[in-house]
Subunit: 315 residues, 6 copies
């Protein structure tokens, strides 16, 4: 496959890309044309279909994968594709991983590890709850494996939600071992469920953007309600335990100003907020540092999230 970052002016190509954006516009002469933004995992490129009605130009929509025949030209210093033919691809004719950012970890292996943590939860009600989501619901599992944990910022890639969830769970397992005041079963359960609301807050790839429900309610409220609904299906689930679990989810951002409606009032809620925050920050640094070669000690500029200039350390 010829990736977008390798295109050069003057080439003629036949290639499949993801159509990220599509708009109809008018030339000065008043003739309609299509303006596209095409994407693969290496970047995006502007493309135009000047001859809209012509044969060889299939119907297609934004977020479709399309095979194009095109000339690589340039306009005002940037590359532009002059598209001659378009054919819409069906699932199976392309590999989504060529077009989307993807976790560099093995997704199935991560999911298996997460399931091991679930099996280690001794409390039968919590174990039941986790199983209903993560062991018995194939559709949930499929979505959970494919989802990102963010629109941008950290973990904004296929598998990102799983990778982040597993990492937070590992952190919590370590904390439970280190600090005996922590109720391990509650903490592990809360860790595994803490971001499940993101399945509804963000649309699925390739869109990966805030949904209307996500904008209005947020993943904290959505996740707490998802947990609440499954609790109601489990006979005899202790009321206090259910509220403790929901509290951990509500409070996992740690501070009211970060969108938690309650400050952590249980040790487990506090520990979860540390585990989550730590993983988010470390992944943020990892993503920032990924574009800097090891051993390069240059300062990378002011980072608004961390409110400081940053650099790598040597070894």
């Amino acid at each position: 496959m010829k990736f977008i970052e390798t295109l050069r002016e003057g080439e003629k190509i036949q290639e499949v890309y993801l159509c990220r954006r599509k708009m109809t516009a008018l030339t000065k002469a008043g003739k309609p044309y299509e303006s596209l933004m095409l994407q693969d995992k290496t970047g995006t490129v502007d493309a135009k279909i000047w001859d809209v009605g012509s044969q060889g130009i299939d119907e297609f929509d934004e977020l479709d994968y399309i095979m194009i025949v095109a000339d690589v030209t340039s306009f005002q210093g940037a590359l532009q594709l002059n598209v001659k033919r378009v054919r819409k691809m069906s699932e199976g004719e392309y590999d989504p991983k060529d077009y989307l950012p993807v976790s560099d970890k093995d997704i199935d292996q991560m999911y298996a590890e997460l399931q091991q943590y679930i099996k280690s939860v001794a409390n039968p009600y919590l174990n039941r709850l986790l199983s209903k989501f993560f062991m018995e619901d194939a559709d949930f599992e499929k979505r959970f494996k494919f989802h990102s944990a963010a629109k941008s910022v950290h973990h904004g890639f296929v598998g990102g939600l799983l990778e982040h969830t597993l990492s937070v769970t590992r952190n919590c397992a370590y904390f439970a071992e280190s600090y005996p005041i922590l109720n391990r079963d509650l903490l592990i359960t809360a860790a595994i469920c803490h971001d499940i609301g993101k399945l509804e807050e963000l649309s699925t790839f390739p869109q990966n953007d805030y949904t209307d429900e996500g904008q209005l309610l947020g993943h904290i409220m959505i996740g707490a309600e998802m947990v609440s609904d499954v609790i109601k299906e489990i006979d005899g689930f202790p009321v206090t335990l259910g509220n403790e679990l929901k509290h951990c989810i509500l409070a996992h951002h740690g501070e009211l100003e970060f969108g938690s409606p309650k400050k952590p009032a249980l040790a487990e809620a506090l520990a979860l907020s540390f585990a989550d925050n730590l993983d988010a920050k470390m992944e943020t640094l990892k993503e920032i540092f990924s574009s800097v070669p090891e051993g390069n000690l240059q300062w990378l500029g002011f980072n608004r999230l961390l409110e400081t200039n940053l650099r790598r350390t040597g070894r």
Copy 2:
């Protein structure tokens, strides 16, 4: 009835009070005695049962209404009852309004007005939702009429939740008339439901204190979930409308730091937050000013909630 604020040293009384607190303690000599705090609507008084095992002292618990025979004495400058006999009262043997703070408005009349607002909601789904709570659920109605809207601060009395809800609803009806961008049906519905979570956040009178669920989840989350659950029971309730309604409830505190997990993102959510905040502040002032005679322009001291010294104005 002889109210607590009229008791004088040296009197002997036989009267019914609410037992607010009850603890067993030891005299220096090691003899157990009961230390009580008794309450009526005019105040509280310390009471002791020195002769715990004696005849004439019924079994009773905190929050029971008890008929006592006692001498009024004083200890370290404060009145103290020396209790000789105790009999536990049953419902009907006393009038709770003598013991608890109560709204000075007519509760049934307020509820009828609230129901009028419900009837004015034209959208069938929203009307259905309101009816299920406020028109068809006798137990809900009974609890809603009796509940307070706060542990302390404003509206902390029987009927307080209803009085506050009605007042916020009136404000919203006025706003909807004044500002045509507002969707009246959505706004009225949100106003009526905005604090229903307080039914679970605060225990019922005479206790009127935060419940475990209230501490862990808060009335914002609880209320949103109550609404969510009823929405699920209504066939065809539009998803978008449901999320808008839940958003209004989540955002009604107006700011993240006041416990809303989302800032108001809809005009109706913003209007509701004004209506709620305005009523809370006006009632707070009303309660502060209630102990100051009209025409008295004395400064009343620094108020922590309003962050200023306060006084009444003349007419």
Copy 3:
């Protein structure tokens, strides 16, 4: 009239526009030319007078209304007028409403309603004060009707100050009815006067920008002093009442960090700050939503004032 938003490249026009900005510049060749920004109520357009000294080009200044003869050309993708002739217009030769943003309400009708509120103020001193400003001072009335309530943000149009003042007064009338602790006469008076300082803080249209006095003192201080000066002219105006009224004006932004030198310490001051803030926010939303068709539920992006993403609701 041919409005700016309808101009197309290649047209030749003879039209009157407001000259918003005018600067003399030099071509690369060192020849002076005039660079103008012309405005009507539909927008602005860049214009050049290349032949500065030529006959047919009248003398004129910024903020003059000018009749131009020009060719519509384009430069770097934007329209540009090549101006051949200029004639300065006198008052009467154009209708300012074609050039300035104007309230969509009837200005005289709004003013009449405001005067009704004034008549409803029973306290003779407050009534006197309002009459001196709004009933007996023709120049004040003329300026008040024409002024905006802001440079940008909400109510930044001809009649905006009146529209906002009336709306705040209506809100206060409603509040006074709903909350008997409020002194209606004081509150209505404060509402009507709360923003009169804007007459000096902002220059009149078409400029509508901060004056030197406005930058240095702000409309809160200016307004309080205007009220203070008129109070001094009224025999026997009670000192306490005067201070209460001035306090309401000083405190109407509600918080020190919003420029009020005092937090609301009277119920009326607090109510006014709600009435003002509510109207400002609702008008802000109305202006934002005005460019979005009803029924369009798209998210409109992050709003810095309201600190949230926003969207309309359906009906």
Copy 4:
């Protein structure tokens, strides 16, 4: 004179004190008595008049100076005067400085120095303004010399307003010399006038408490208006200069959250806010350190205003 801090149980005294507070109360037996708080510059003492109607007890009010005949007794570990006779003193029969905190500087000398600064102001309008207040208005001068600059905190003593004003003026004179961008005449004038609003914000000694006007408007607004009123009396006072001076007064607290309705937007306003803040903080430290012997390096505890623990340094 026998000062309050030297009184001992068992003494009989005849002495003049300031009656700071006076309340009528009832004994347990229901007999009325007067409860007083008496003050001199060394402290306060509780006093009782048990025999209210008796001969030898003159009529008097709070804030009168009274000659008492009394026994020094004690109650619950604190001294208490049992008052037998009371005679109300007239002005001249006592020296206020024995009863009130007084500046340790010479008041007339400080005032003379302030007048020297006024003479050094070359701008005729500013000089005129200062003269009208400080050179030609004997009543103003008398009040200005006697007033404090605060209810408590720093400079809360007779002459405190003068002492603080002079010190701020000196600081500004130094700043004007050091930083040529500063307009000395404007800055000196602003310094001398910056706190004149305190004449109305605080009542005069011995009361020295916030007035109703002070609570409602604050010394910043009051002072700006006092200046504004005198400017109007001066023919030809330049408008811009008047606004600049008023701005300096409005902005002298430096930050909106400290009650200035405008941030310093002129160099002179910024310099004044430094001069004022510096003098307030240095005097605060001086007053705190005054009770600690030189050379004592003990830590004095957390100070809420300065948000730190404090100690003196050695020499």
Copy 5:
């Protein structure tokens, strides 16, 4: 030994306690007496020596351990010792652990584990630095083992500094394993050194209070300088590495407002701040929960540090 919390009125005791405070006062009759606060690990008790000059009363100072003969009496509801004889103890005549709060972990074992971490640091310069402090300096080791990590709050006991340091180091070792972007040697070294400044910021037990140096400089600055001084003694210590290590110490409070002069700008500094904050919070909860029996789900009241009400969870 008879511990203070077991004393009862009427007993006569001969016991060794720590004299925490000692002041000379005067009886009403003007006779001097000594007022003491005595302490053991179970609490404190007020004590008086009425007969100061008498035989049998040794010379002693605050923070001495003293053997007393005394009667247990009570005054205003609290126990008070009437001390008849005092003898000052020498080291060895008492066991400090009976008088001071002590870690419930084995101190030598914790120190051995810390040394294992030091041995695991491969970088020769960092290893050298750690060894000079923790392996080769017997006096440092002795002080480090005995010191607390706080005056009050968390880890305010003998061995507290070691316990906290070890726990933070363990957390960092776990983080380094989990997040490969972290430089383990730097992070472990920073963790072990992060609070060594507390050796000078707090005086040693039994005083355990802020020193003058601690008040003026704080443990962050002191610790960075201690590290800096030892770095200078190590030949060839890389400058960049030294600055990175010092940065980690300076930034370990994570935020400027918590006293770090720099925000974490290296991944290791950020990780250290998490490790430290987590351990501090978990220990705080452990200490709060230690007085509540397991299984007790009562709410424990608002905690100012964590800004929330708190309770334990069940198992």
Copy 6:
């Protein structure tokens, strides 16, 4: 010398400039060329060396002074130099003051005044400390005279560190005279040393940028350690005095959020923070106003540091 701001298209020049930045790039055709940013004290200009390998093009690096032969052309509206020849200059062949911003005060005279202040410090230890830095260390003196006090903002020019230090010292001398609670020797010493850490925090001109050490530690910590190191060299320097001096340096930013790890806890530390802040703000205004002619009262726009719009005043 032909300064950059006077260059015009079409000229041919031979001139010496400072090479601020230098990068190798590729033409579209794949040929390497050098892209330079050249600087003198009047501005910067883009320059290209298209013929990289050609004769007449010396080797040189960023921050070298180079003599170029070039044509002045333009590209996309900005001037660009087409460089034909380059020769690297040696020290002495150019005058740095033509290329760098320089204090408009006489540097040697300022240094002499600073030394006078040093001589006025009577305390022998403080005098010793100052002498070691400022009187006996020629290299230190040379660096101190040449350094700036900032990368940008105020005093960002050659001699800026000296000019700011002297001004702060003068302010402190005035404060010590005005406020007798201040220990003059300590305050003057702290003023002179307060920013010496900037010698390491910022690299020397022409680079004048944050160093790695500066980013990691900051001038506050660096300066305190520099002082600490010299204190150790002075026999008998009193420990308390040393800590007080270091505290003044640590606390001189006044607030934790401005990077001081301690709030001012000594009067001298507080006074120093005022002296420093005042000078920084006044210099900031001076630099802003320097581009506005005296008498121009135009508003200059919102300033982010001072959080306000600004303008000059007239005279």
